[in-house]
């Protein structure tokens, strides 16, 4: 018996050594790919914030499908890394993406939190990323060469939202956030841009059900507008409870709220709410709109789908140009300058897209309507 225990241990050891001998190649980067090149999606597909990730993946899928239909000899594959938006899970997924030599570009990471956790890895691996949705301004200040975003950051959106609020003639604006990295970051910028028109209403817990304490404070301050930095589910609850409490202030919020989920949650209280986004309205480009509808049973592209399509198109352009390694593709992107469906795609050395704008949207008759650029 005791011999067999020793033998089992020795077998385990021997097998492990076999592993060492066989392996050792899992850090390959760049051109060791056998088979089709892959463009990866990185972000949440399941979990609490799955909606936004699904929108992004649809944009990416469309771009790749169009390419594959036209180029039978140069097929591309979409690989999805579902982080559930959790910075804890993201590193193991990022390492997997890096270890796969066929992954030459990433559309994502979708959120700012996971970006902070994994972008240093992509930078080290030289794996180019174009995020269609992570808008935290600090992300471009890390000196990452691989980092690009397909829309402007919150440092553009915040002042834009503030300008819209002022242009609408609001004098006293309550500023609330959901205490998330994104929400608080955006709300702080809006508050700063509003200057003495802003009334700090502090943060709420997006998972909580009752926001009466904050609404009471808003009522007490006599605000004529409320800006909320955060995501759509909490925004809907807040807007609804505000209306119930008799607060008539106009509801403003940012791109995290730009989802039909907001209208569902707020019901009639959503009417007249103004949302800002550095993303373009879905009908900006009729050609893209039609292609998207055809590919998705007539469904309209939702928030970030067009940006994801743009991001994927840049990678595809690089691959068509004969670039097959991560380094070559990165160089191609850094020198890229062409029109996408949402904007002119050209990046400065920090990875911010040049010439971007902030759009305003209004909730009207239970639907999101673009009401144009904010000057």
């Amino acid at each position: 018996m005791k011999k067999s225990v020793l033998r089992a241990g020795a077998t385990l050891l021997a097998l492990s050594l076999v592993g060492v001998a066989c392996g050792g190649g899992d850090d390959a980067s760049g051109n060791g790919c056998e088979g089709d090149l892959k463009i990866a999606f990185f972000g949440a597909l399941t979990g609490d914030a799955g909606n936004l990730g699904i929108n992004i993946k649809k944009g990416l899928d469309l771009a790749v499908a169009q390419h594959n239909a036209e180029n039978a000899d140069n097929q591309l594959v979409v690989e999805a890394y579902d982080s559930q938006g959790d910075p804890d899970q993201a590193p193991a997924l990022a390492d997997k993406a890096i270890a796969d030599p066929c992954v030459v570009g990433i559309v994502g990471p979708a959120f700012s939190g996971e970006s902070a956790a994994v972008n240093p890895k992509f930078e080290e691996a030289g794996l180019p990323i174009i995020t269609p949705s992570a808008t935290n301004p600090d992300l471009s200040k890390n000196g990452w060469d691989i980092f690009h975003r397909a829309l402007a950051g919150d440092d553009k959106q915040g002042p834009g939202a503030a300008a819209k609020i002022v242009a609408d003639g609001k004098m006293k604006v309550g500023v609330v956030d959901d205490n998330s990295e994104y929400g608080k970051g955006l709300a702080d910028i809006v508050q700063e841009s509003l200057g003495d028109k802003a009334v700090e209403l502090n943060s709420l817990d997006p998972e909580a059900s009752d926001y009466s304490a904050i609404i009471t404070a808003a009522k007490d301050a006599g605000v004529d507008a409320v800006f909320f930095g955060g995501y759509y589910a909490a925004a809907g609850k807040l807007a609804k409870q505000m209306a119930d409490a008799g607060v008539t202030a106009t509801f403003y919020s940012g791109d995290g709220t730009l989802d039909v989920g907001f209208i569902e949650a707020a019901g009639p209280a959503a009417e007249g709410a103004i949302l800002t986004c550095t993303c373009a309205p879905f009908d900006t480009n009729p050609e893209f709109l039609k292609a998207f509808q055809d590919a998705n049973d007539g469904e309209n592209p939702a928030t970030y789908a067009a940006e994801a399509y743009d991001a994927a198109s840049v990678f595809i352009a690089a691959i068509k140009d004969g670039k097959t390694t991560r380094a070559d593709i990165l160089e191609f992107i850094n020198g890229y300058d062409a029109a996408g469906v949402t904007k002119q795609l050209k990046w400065d050395e920090t990875g911010e897209v040049t010439g971007s704008a902030v759009y305003a949207y209004e909730i009207k008759d239970g639907a999101i309507k673009g009401i144009g650029l904010i000057e």
Partner: protein, 362 residues
């Protein structure tokens, strides 16, 4: 026994026979067994490259070696620490994530946010600060009875997380990035991509913790803990200074939790309050109880399972948490002492006797 219901019988029999064989081995054989197992464990990142076995152990969608460090090592460390509190001293702690967070935050503050210390120097400081937090929480609350302690510790974990989230000095919801890495040593470079050096470091930490805890468990302190767990009043009457030893359990548990936090912060380089949710405390507790509360090796096994199995089952996608919940219930119904129950002596006999009495009563 012949029914298929007792699905764990083969597992237990296997472990029992290994245990029996182990006890019959002589000194030399034992040491070589230890050596073989430890070397095999150090080679774990390469297991995926073994023919046939590799695809079975590999985690779909995630990098196996990253999972080994970021999930498995962290959970094993934490389970070892929590096992001291819950398994040995019998104190129900639902806020253990708080100590883990303290360890990570102290490292982040000292090496990035408000200091420039090397990671190695932050390690002892963070462990000591975690112990201090253990005393701060333990001193006023350890006089409370079991279930009150549970909710108080739960609240403590939340207070730590929310304080980090609301204080700009602690990075608020942005978190703290650019945390320093461990120093390169023996040709191991602690970079951002290759997780293997971190795994080797983490495994070394686990081995050290196992060694130290093993010594403590079989010392006077360890015997006092078991006495408290089995019957606090009796222990007090027999002259065991229960409060002092409970506080020790809390403090030592906190130190190990803090150590896990330091290792995590050094590996990931970026932490924010969302890394330390209340649910994590519950998973930690589940790891200890699932593996076998009170048995260090059970806690290790529990930590490995709770960390690894959800990653292995990644293709279940969003159903894996449901499966995990059902498995917990099934485990508790059919094997409530965990997979590897604590070593039993008189206590075991006592329980057998009481269950026999009940059968008589029914």
């Amino acid at each position: 026994m012949s029914t298929i219901g007792n699905a764990f019988a083969p597992v237990r029999d296997a472990f029992d026979s290994i245990g029996d064989a182990f006890h019959r081995m002589n000194q030399w054989q034992k040491y070589s067994f230890y050596a073989i197992v430890i070397i095999a464990l150090y080679l774990a990142p390469f297991w995926t490259d073994i023919p046939v076995i590799g695809p079975i152990v590999d985690t779909p969608g995630t990098q196996f070696s990253t999972v080994l460090n970021d999930q498995v090592i962290i959970f094993v460390l934490v389970a070892l620490g929590l096992n001291v509190v819950v398994g040995l001293a019998g104190l129900l702690d639902l806020g253990y994530v708080g100590f883990y967070a303290v360890g990570a935050y102290v490292t982040a503050i000292l090496t990035s946010a408000h200091g420039n210390l090397p990671w190695l120097l932050s390690l002892p400081i963070a462990v000591v600060v975690s112990m201090l937090f253990g005393v701060i929480l333990g001193a006023p609350t350890l006089r409370l009875r079991g279930d009150y302690l549970a909710i108080v510790t739960l609240g403590f974990g939340e207070i730590i997380r929310l304080t980090a989230k609301n204080m700009d000095w602690l990075g608020a919801s942005r978190g703290i990035s650019n945390i320093k890495k461990p120093p390169s040593i023996f040709g191991l470079k602690f970079g951002v991509i290759d997780p293997k050096p971190y795994y080797y470091l983490g495994l070394t930490l686990v081995l050290i913790v196992v060694f130290v805890l093993h010594r403590i468990e079989y010392s006077r302190v360890g015997r006092a803990w078991v006495a408290i767990r089995e019957d606090e009043d009796a222990a007090e009457l027999m002259g065991v200074h229960t409060f002092k030893f409970k506080l020790w359990a809390f403090t030592i548990g906190a130190a190990v939790g803090g150590l896990a936090g330091v290792h995590y912060a050094g590996k990931v380089g970026f932490i924010n309050p969302d890394n330390f949710p209340l649910q994590l405390s519950i998973l930690f507790l589940a790891a200890v109880v699932l593996g076998g509360s009170g048995n260090m090796y059970g806690a290790i096994l529990g930590g490995v399972l709770v960390a690894y199995v959800p990653e292995r089952l990644r293709n279940f996608a969003d159903k894996r948490v449901f499966v995990f919940g059902v498995v917990l219930v099934l485990m508790m119904v059919f094997r409530p002492e965990g997979i590897l129950p604590k070593r039993v002596g008189d206590e075991h006999k006592k329980r057998q006797r009481s269950s026999q009495n009940e059968e008589v009563a029914q």
